[in-house]
Amino acid sequence: MKLYSIKGGIKLKQNKFADANIINTLPVLDGELFYYPLSNSFCTNSIPVVSKGDVVKAGDLIAKASESGFSIDIHSSVDGIIEDITQIKHSKLITTEGIVIKASEQSGDYTKLTPAKDIESSVKNAGVLGMGGAGFPSYIKFCSSKSQVDTLIINASESEPYLTCDQSILINKADELIETILLIKKELDIKRVIVALEGNTTEQTDKFKQLAKDNSIDIAELPRKYPYSGEKQLIYVLLGRTVKKGEFPSSVKVMIQNISTIYSIYEAIKKSKPVIDRVVTISGDIPTHQNIIVKVGTTVRSLLEKLNLDPEQYNRIILGGLMTGTSIADLDTPLLKTVSAVLLLNDKVASHDEEACARCGRCIDSCVMRLSPTGINNSIVQGDIDQALKDDLMSCIECGCCSYVCISSRKLMESIQYAKNFLVKDHIASLEMEKASGGKK
């Protein structure tokens, strides 16, 4: 299959130690606490539908999506009792309101979702999120895609180091994945399906490839470069279509789904199972690397205890990949639907001071969005948010390449993220204030 080439991206060391052929399951202990934050950084808070002391079963709805904005349903992943509704830890937000459940004896079963009329509503009822890390509610993609999409892209490439959870699903759940893909294809009347795999995949994925071929699904093997799996990049590389600034993939008639998300959709449609667990890669500087099914809401502490890992031996814990994940300080942080990996690292972190930009241009070459990280960083440091916005600050996909390559150790992506999350809002607010006061004069 012909691939379009794209400027930028970097080569990363792979470190894919965790065996993708086997998926283990993490047991649940009596009395273990599970945490369910009511929001993620993307969505507005869900509204709790349980109160303290209620008895819940796995799969029961505990918070429903709020009407305003993007929001999702949250289900209990264990049988247990509502311990509290209080402030809890969140990997991205530090603390947020959430529900705490104390596990009781597990029946091993779950409450089935009420059957829905189409994929969109079952995806919505199951609380499916973009499992690649961004955490965009999936049903929105479906409702904005109805009858205007001609291509479905399945993103099965994991370009971040260590991660093999998507690959493990690809290997172990090939039949289920193909079935779901065909279902979506039929329901949305999609003409073409492309599965994007990483280059030099092993023979283990041959079964999936063969199945895909039998069902006339295209396979594209991407070069091993990070971050080709960004949505806009992938669409361009595969189809040569450019998603305009501020638009969604549906504007170029494409729907794009992560492979883990497809599997969640499978469970939602075929097994009526809400998203209460997911495959997580456990890796890093640890002796045994593995892929393991973890219940949503499990804390890092209990995960490590059950795996016999001593947190004292590591100096960094990262939820998600090395390039985009979040480092956590508190072991009581829960694993959520979007966490694809837990990395335990014990290495020296070179703490270089930021030096003045040497204008070497490496960050510009590495940026797949063709931004000028150094220019934007400069504007942010000088407090000129207007200029940063003109230079298209908001288009940054926060891939981290620029910070990775900078020879002066400048914190480029960090500053851009900060500006996107905080400074821009303030800036817009102050502009409005100015306008209001200017109007009065």
Partner: protein
């Protein structure tokens, strides 16, 4: 409870850092430096070491005073060594040593530190230092030598005196200017000078004579993408085109384009100095504009001014336009 390190993503950094860039740059300069050593002997090696020490010490002292902190790791990056080597390479081979010291001081203090240090300087520091002594000590600056022997015949440790057999001689460019000034004419094609000029057996500044050595080093810089290839490409193309046009209409009064490109500092300037990443434009369109500017100005200075050589002035002039160029050549973002 143990402390976990909190850091914003990305959680890893590339292995390639500043010191590697400096190292590759130094390696790229090695062929030309070796050639000057072979040609002028230990005297020139001593000049390199002297200039490097002056640059490094100035930088270190300045940083220590400014930040009230010992920046040993910065010192060890040896950023100043590149500037220092360029200074020696662009000056005539045999000079009183204090001129090197003056040039090095001006380069690191005025050319670099006064702007806020490495990365913030607008002008190429080496050229700043060179132009300063060119203006200040102009009598020394027009004396070039053509050694008839090399270091092995010259006595290995003779660092103080001029090589015994060196003949004081004008460079090809100066000689041509003088010939025309007294009413003489030049051969249309100076074919017999092409090969010696390419190899470097002509009088000229210490590091710029051997085009061959410079091309090898330049290839290293361009292949490792430390310098943007667009700059030397645009610069040399413009230079050749303009030189050919002027030569075609003034045959006998202007050197042919091949001799022009092989003599003087145009190759050194285009490959090594114009590509200095700190003082060249960031974006591809700007790099082309910058290259064209350098090439065109050099031709104009060579032909219409009293200076035989103009690459240094051209680069400095274009350096000062870089902020402006950068501002108007920003690329569009993906889908933007």
């Amino acid at each position: 409870m143990s402390e976990f390190l909190m850091k914003l993503p990305p959680h890893q950094h590339g292995k390639y850092v500043m010191k590697h860039t400096i190292f590759i740059l130094a390696a790229a300069m090695l062929p030309a430096v070796c050639f000057s050593f072979y040609y002028y002997g230990y005297r020139i090696l001593f000049a390199y070491l002297l200039t490097m020490s002056v640059c490094a010490l100035t930088e270190w002292t300045y940083d220590s005073i400014k930040y009230r902190k010992d920046y040993l790791h910065r010192f060890l990056e040896f950023k100043g060594s590149i500037t220092a080597a360029f200074i020696v390479m662009t000056l005539p081979p045999i000079l009183p040593y204090y001129i090197y010291v003056v040039a090095a001081l001006i380069a690191s203090l005025i050319g670099k530190e006064l702007f806020g240090g490495f990365g913030r300087n607008v002008y190429n520091p080496a050229i700043t230092g060179r132009i300063a002594v060119l203006v200040g000590y102009s009598s020394y600056m027009s004396t070039f030598y053509l050694p008839t022997s090399n270091i092995f015949e010259n006595g290995l440790f003779n660092i103080t005196t001029v090589p015994i057999d060196a003949v004081s001689m004008a460079t090809t460019l100066t000689a041509a200017k003088e010939t025309v000034a007294v009413g003489g004419t030049l051969p249309v094609l100076m074919t017999e000078t092409w090969l010696p000029s390419f190899l470097g057996f002509i009088p000229g500044a210490a590091g710029e004579v051997s085009t061959l050595a410079l091309l090898i080093g330049g290839a290293v810089i361009l292949i490792t993408r430390i310098g943007a290839w667009r700059i030397p490409f645009a610069c040399l193309t413009t230079f050749l085109v303009l030189a050919t046009v002027f030569w075609y209409f003034n045959q006998g009064y202007i050197l042919d384009p091949i001799t022009q490109v092989l003599s003087g500092g145009i190759v050194l300037g285009a490959l090594f100095m114009a590509t200095d990443f700190v003082t060249s434009p960031l974006y591809s369109k700007g790099q082309i504009i910058f290259g064209i500017g350098c090439g065109a100005l050099t031709v104009l200075i060579r032909i219409f001014s009293s200076y035989p050589e103009g690459i240094g002035f051209s680069i400095l002039l274009m350096n000062s336009l870089v902020p402006l160029i950068d501002r108007y050549t920003k690329p569009r973002s993906f889908g933007g």
